[in-house]
């Protein structure tokens, strides 16, 4: 599924601020696996996601999706099979467009954006049913602009749009970090439902150790560009938030929780 081999990345090479982040990083995520990624700031979590999505070029190494090398592909090409939800809820939707327009755009992903009507009227009941599943009352707000939504509603929309069309890999970049605790729970539950239902291989970067422990089949802990913990299977299932926290403190990462 996703395979990263021999990834090297050094920021600001040749300067006093030179930071060597990844040194021969290797990561393999099999089909349908839900992976939580934790680590302190600067440990390389976001760089990892950016390398997968093509926003950051590694100095060397390969990124393979389905056994196909995508290291040279441009960012937008990679999103053909990858969905991404950002920390900032505003990143996943167009604020000035209505929910219906946003969802119509997402529904058409993978097809041409030509001169046919932007919204297919016959699809509206289907969109409503999708929105109703979010339990946020969005199905009655089809003609509202996305910018008028709350952070949680907008993130739910972003999640829906990212997973609407068939993708095989989902990237969640601290997607609950900007939400209040209650909304974060709602979005996290929703995420889990979607990931399981569509059997998406998922990389979820999070600062919420409880989420990292409670959700997913596997937990990766990053420290200074290295994977220092890789817990899966029964061990992961038995993992509690306190255990993750203990691992963190042992790193001396000084994690605030």
């Amino acid at each position: 599924m996703l395979e990263m081999q021999g990834i090297y990345k050094t920021y600001l090479p040749g300067t006093v601020n030179e930071t060597r982040l990844f040194c021969n990083l290797f990561l393999k995520v099999p089909k349908g696996q839900f992976v939580s990624v934790v680590g302190s700031n600067g440990s390389g979590k976001t760089s990892l996601l950016n390398i997968i999505c093509g926003q950051t070029r590694p100095d060397s190494g390969w990124v393979m999706l389905y056994g196909q090398d995508i290291s040279k592909e441009k960012e937008h090409r990679r999103y053909a099979r990858v969905g991404r939800v950002y920390q900032n809820p505003a990143m996943g939707t167009c604020g000035g467009m209505t929910l219906l327009e946003n969802i119509s755009l997402a529904d058409n992903k993978g097809h041409g954006y030509g001169l046919t009507p932007g919204t297919v009227k016959a699809r509206i009941p289907y969109y409503k049913s999708l929105l109703a599943r979010l339990h946020l009352g969005l199905e009655d707000k089809l003609y509202m602009r996305a910018e008028a939504l709350s952070g949680g509603q907008r993130q739910a929309m972003a999640l829906l749009m990212a997973t609407m069309t068939p993708i095989s890999f989902l990237i969640l970049d601290e997607h609950t970090a900007a939400l209040d605790p209650k909304t974060a729970e709602v979005i996290m539950k929703l995420t889990n439902e979607l990931v399981r239902e569509k059997q998406l291989a998922t990389l979820m970067v999070t600062h919420n150790l409880r989420h990292a422990a409670a959700y997913g089949d596997r937990l990766l802990m990053f420290d200074a560009g290295k994977i220092v913990q890789d817990i899966q299977g029964g061990e992961k299932a038995a993992l509690k938030a306190e255990d993750v926290f203990a691992l963190f403190t042992r790193l001396g990462a000084g994690y605030g929780g």
Partner: protein, 293 residues
Amino acid sequence: MNMVIGVLEQGFIYALLAMGVLITYRILDFPDLTVDSSFPLGAAISAVLTLNGTPPALTLPIALLAGGAAGLITGLIHVKCGVRDLLSGIITMTALYSVNLRVAGRANLPIYAGDTLFLNEWTRGFPPWLAPYSKLIIILFIVALVKIILDLFLKTKAGYLLRAVGDNPSVVAALNKDGGYVKIQGLMIANAFCALAGAVMCQHQRFFDISMGTGTLVTGLASVIIGLNMFSKLPRLKNTLAVIAGSILYKACVSAALSLGLAPTDLRLITAALFLVILILGKTRVRKVKPHA
């Protein structure tokens, strides 16, 4: 009465330009200075072709295509060469100044002699009571056509994508689409409209002048900002109609200032001063996605 008709004629011609600026400024969030040269480009082409015996109406689609090419150049400079948006427009604008002189052959090219879009066999056949409005009717027809086409386009999938790329480029990337191409498309459409406005203007005033492009962007922006601020609150009013109304209102303001005793040479000063007033009164809201934290 003549003054009102004059304002309406001018206002509707500049409304074509305003619809172009609506695309770049409002939809794409791209400060496109190319319009200062694509407007006279359309005029130059229309003037030269008319003198060469091309039917005046046929010069309009040709001007439209030329404007699209101007937008394409700005788009390529910005997207492919990675030059900043404002500078890309300035480069094309500067280069086109010479191109416009080449096209027209000189800085001022009158077309008084022959028929024009507004003065031909067909318009001479208008009954006397309708004759004073003949220009206005023709302009209105063109504006309505462009408005309807633009409205329809913005409702298509391509139109949705165009709106999305100005609103939030990361959504377009997530849709597996190259936002750069969409931007280029938008710039082409916008400059095509501007060149069309220039061509119609040239037919209306019956001459091309190299300096007629100066301040085009300011006029277009003023129309868009007045239109959106004053009329977009009205329910169910499309942005295209709002900027057409804005264009007419703006031309009326300029015309009023002139009739208050200011000299025609003060025109650009009035244009700029009015624009400043509009900006201050309007305090245009900036809507942009905050960069990823």
